[in-house]
Symmetry: D2
């Protein structure tokens, strides 16, 4: 079952690359968390390639409408925003969506419709003898589904499906921000062979930021040509991506994902640990091929005496561990690094097959694509981290029973 | 997490009684199953009170739009039907939904928007000192959510949320019908003290019906004033419901739910048995207080020699067991009986409290309701049965490995 | 996956009727709950047929040993009890099990080994042409597993596997008793056509019992020849069971299952509601064919004005609803009634088949069995109720965040 | 809930470092798979530090006994091996465990008892003012559980708990070997700064090995001083570990994990993809801080034209993708690389705190530990990979319905 998160906080998603829209249901937001459509939209907007010239030219002006799970006694505030309508035969139904309110604890649904799709771009991939793009899911999905797949754009195996991640992450972030001030950041730290000189993990210190400090960090990340702490690196990386595009090629990227003001003591042991969940959720995203925690792959070469983080009464003095010990949060920043492969779709000719396994030299007929998928993925990774932390927070709270929460009539539950 | 079904076939639902709409995601439909919007709509239409005068006067012309999980190379067929649109600020997006195609195996999403709601009817229930309707969730949900509930119509604890059940059931039915000819029926067998003289379990014989026989049975059930095998009983029951309505009162009902052409050998042992799942899914529906399988409560009074069903080479000769032995299907019809309490919302004065526990004599100010919720529930119960059977079918198939399903290139997986 | 309970509190079981033993793992017990092997054993002892002459003559002196999930700084207390040993080749390992301590929050494992089994009794059922007992799982399990089943005693589809239910229930009960004083009771209320004159639901009043009152009620239930509030009924029922046995026949039974001091506000809406879970868990037990909540099947015949339970500031005045409104606990007693079919295994000749579908007149060669399986099932049903309530309590607590539970170093998580 | 794997094939584990034993239940093994206690034991033996001098001197002669889920008509074969016994008060029960048979499809339980534990080694960690080892779970687990933790050896956060992984993996491997010839290997490829010159991914070619080739590869891996393809590297690495030990220090390590004869088309999209599951399961193991697939972190620096794997009619020509495209198996070898931190427990003094946060200079009083935890982890990682692949295989099969598997009586299910 396609569910992101865990038993306490989870996101169900549906919708393929070229279908009518992406549908999302978010489960487990505690009653009372303040939510707004605009807040969700702000994070969705970060998925778009609009802010610079490096992404795909398809403008995806994705707009979210919320369909359930909020309430406010002020119905004008609750309903005074977006609208949604359906027409079936002669019957039209139009209703306002939810604009802002408090979570009721019931599932929160959202839809994001798709604007015009250029399905014609995909003619060369259709049918049982359609071309197979190297590095894409065309071949395995065709055979896995015995031919009953949607060949336009890869179905769910598309960047578009991560809209649900961001919507779920927006709810998780609202919850964690309200209760703990937790904030999530990402910074591009490598593009091709070029590496950033600054690390997000270094910029957040011991991981306790005021809301002003968090806002300032967010602003700083927004400024460069690519979302990164290091503006010089960002400019150079942008140029590299542009070169790759002109050459009909693509390039890989790596990102740091960091959370601050992380509630400590969160995460279960072993098979359901927060580390396992984060390694899977971040490392399992489309096009990702590596996932590292804290000092990551570097720790292999270290001695224990250099790698163990000293502890003082105020907290850990260093954060090689990346915020999790034994899969449980220490309150130090969560620090992960994720590496993306270069975009599989390129303009250069390559050895490939048709879906019937006839060998071809593959040439892309139409369509343009991101030359570097990694650089837009930050908000998705932040979202996935937020979803897993929210789930783990609720799991930890479940075991700390306070009888005061179990009272209705006088004398009951006492 | 609010999921109906199991790990293989499941339905996620969202949307409260008076919200913008009901959102549904169906997981696990095998690739290749033929699906159509019209087929889902037909089953949804059975939820409506339109066909007779016994239901709530609120006309619920629920129209479904499918947003994902289908494909057909004939895009005119795939897209030539319903439309959905959103407006956020100045940006409008309009797209066709899916009309008909084959399941791709990816999640199937659907929305059903709500037409105008008369929220004003609910004024007396609003706020921390709102009235509490006896038999309703007003009080428990208010305190459970620390006040952050939607007090209009009970939120998810509303008949309206079962739209998702029916949509999920429609997909499950399409799958099971295609593969096994399985069909699901329900018949009202008791209203108040009046009982039907005919039993659905008797009408289906050994449970192997041709598609013509199944269609004929369905037609026969549709004809009476209430959906029932026994037209005389149905007329009498309809009058009783009308009397109850005029008296500002309500009345209970019981239904039989039966499946034919059930694939045998389906269901897991013990904690995840199909019996456990069906008893929960059917017996757990809103307003249900009893659930019986096969001969149900009557078997308590029997001797084993009278209750054991004799077995011959062609199958079980009787069906006291109701289609499941040890939680596994025998191929005999699945037979369940479900009892509903009388509708809790009535016009008569009753002892109650406000949400702050102040005692009141409760009188309903506005709003009209079904005097007999049970009589519309048949399609929901059939749907839940179909969902659980579909899940169990997939679970059984999972354990029967055929290496031929694991081949891509020559020589692989062999 | 064979798991009883939910995502927060769950029981995994393994072990078939005639295997080496029953293995149980209990997940989700909050850290700090006091547990003892003796406490678990006391409940297991209630499964045995020893206390009267009505059960199967096979004496099942089941002894439990706890293998994980407890701790106490006093190692003598922790370890000073049962022992367990393995011998593999020449290597023997012997270790004490856990005797008493506090739950650590980690999984609690237990084993109950089987004493000598009379497998010879099962010779007539072995092999692909073995006899099929009507009403048993012999036929469906043989074909479901393509012949790879354990034909001795039904494998997991055996009463013996409910040892795990009772162990899990014992942990759930310890947790709920410590925190809320919750207690669980069962009473046989019907055997064959004979019905008890007293109802457990009547005996518990508004469901708030002191620990003395709860102990007195438990004692009263233990006294009669069969576990029942009504000693006269119990004697008569015992005689009926003895008659059935002598005639080579069997008889059905019904039980009431009731919980008191139930924490209110517990249970999720709709698809994961506590009602759905309890109807499934209780109604899904082997040999059960009906499950009713509160006034059960009787409510069908009622008017709403008679069925709605009046509410006063101190609580509900009646309990037709059975402790759950909208699937959420009201604090009134949980009241369920479960009906068992007569034991399928009887000595009388019956029409049946071999596993290869050859028709036979089935006669039981050897082996003796309970003539009334229902009468020993009370402790299993109480256990299942406790497991579901524990899970729902933890789920409710999860949504009520108290930041004080998320602190480690000074200033963190605040 | 602490479950490894997914809904189709899963492993539940219980048992802490210094408790009586490790209990394991394996769910979802298809009926008919041949299993033996000796086969499980062989894999468990690979966890032991006995074969060389680099592991912890505590000899862990772990012996497994199987308690359920197997059957063989030849009871001498089924039962003719290990024994298990319990003693509770005066009652002793001794029973043979299962030695060899076919899986019945029901849960498979296993216990591994612990021989004498030197709990005295842990005196310095006990109580609310016990010392905290840097890099260990002492501090977080103490506070997470409000003090109700087992302070000896870290409870479940111990290498010992991975016994369940290996047992579950043994079952998964038996299933996959029987059906597909799938085999799993691991090779240590880095210790501290020393790297192996040979790669397992290179040694397996296109991933189609005969059983002889697989056996030869396994033998080659067993030979060196450390399990590795590169014997020269292994000797040098072993010396480095010995140096670290003598200096009271520890060192990190990295391993490659590879599967061959992998069935293609396995894995679900997006949120439940096999990539997500493997990144989580492998990357989430204790002490792991990095997890890479295929060419791993190196792909970030590449161009798409260099990274896309060419496809010919016989399969992929290179395997930078590591066996998964879009989270679905291609039939190329599964290739993962996992990096372990240096063992946290070292003899050198370090800045730390007591559990009450008093600052101390921590010095380890007693106890000896692996100076390099990574070098023993190969079998655990192979096991986790096998468990996830088995789950994904069953999930894929679930959607491929063959009506022939749903037949009991003549004419049913057809």
């Amino acid at each position: 079952m396609e569910i992101l998160g865990g038993a306490h906080f989870a996101v169900a998603g549906a919708g393929e690359s070229h279908g009518p829209g992406i549908t999302t249901i978010v489960f487990g937001c505690p009653a009372g968390v303040p939510l707004s459509r605009a807040g969700v939209q702000d994070l969705l907007d970060r998925r778009r390639p609009g802010s610079n010239k490096l992404g795909t030219p398809r403008r995806e002006g994705d707009k979210v409408v919320l369909l359930s799970g909020l309430y406010d006694e002020d119905h004008a505030a609750l309903l005074g925003g977006a609208e949604v309508a359906t027409r079936v035969g002669d019957e039209e139904i139009l209703t306002p969506g939810y604009e802002r309110g408090r979570a009721t604890g019931e599932p929160i649904a959202a839809i994001v419709l798709s604007a015009a799709k250029r399905s014609a771009d995909y003619a060369q991939f259709l049918g049982p003898a359609g071309d197979v793009r190297p590095g894409h899911t065309d071949l395995v999905k065709h055979h896995k589904s015995a031919g009953y797949t949607d060949p336009r754009g890869g179905g769910r195996s598309s960047y578009r499906s991560t809209i649900s991640d961001v919507i779920g992450g927006a709810v998780a972030r609202a919850f964690l921000a309200q209760r703990f001030g937790t904030a999530f950041f990402s910074s591009i730290c490598q593009v091709g062979e070029i590496e950033s000189g600054e690390r997000l993990s270094g910029a957040v210190g011991d991981g306790r930021l005021t809301s002003e400090e968090a806002a300032a960090l967010e602003s700083r990340l927004e400024e460069p040509e690519l979302r990164s702490l290091d503006a010089g690196f960002a400019s150079e990386a942008a140029r590299l991506i542009e070169v790759a595009r002109k050459e009909g090629d693509s390039v890989g990227a790596a990102l740091e994902i960091v959370a601050v003001n992380v509630p400590p003591l969160v995460g279960e042991p072993l098979y359901d640990s927060l580390k396992l969940r984060l390694m899977g959720s971040l490392g399992g995203l489309h096009a990702v091929q590596s996932c590292e925690m804290g000092s990551g792959r570097e720790v292999v070469a270290r001695r224990g005496s250099a790698n163990n983080d000293p502890i003082r009464s105020g907290g850990y003095r260093t954060n090689h561990h990346g915020g999790l010990i034994g899969g449980i949060t220490t309150g130090s920043p969560l620090v992960f690094r994720v590496g993306f492969k270069p975009t599989a779709t390129i303009a250069r000719p390559q050895d490939s097959v048709r879906k019937d396994l006839t060998e071809i030299e593959f040439r892309l007929n139409k369509g343009r694509h991101d030359p570097c998928v990694g650089v837009r993925a930050g908000v998705t990774l932040e979202s996935r981290m937020a979803i897993e932390v929210a789930d783990a927070v609720l799991a930890h709270q479940a075991g700390r029973i306070d009888e005061g929460n179990f009272r209705l009539f006088d004398g009951q539950g006492s």
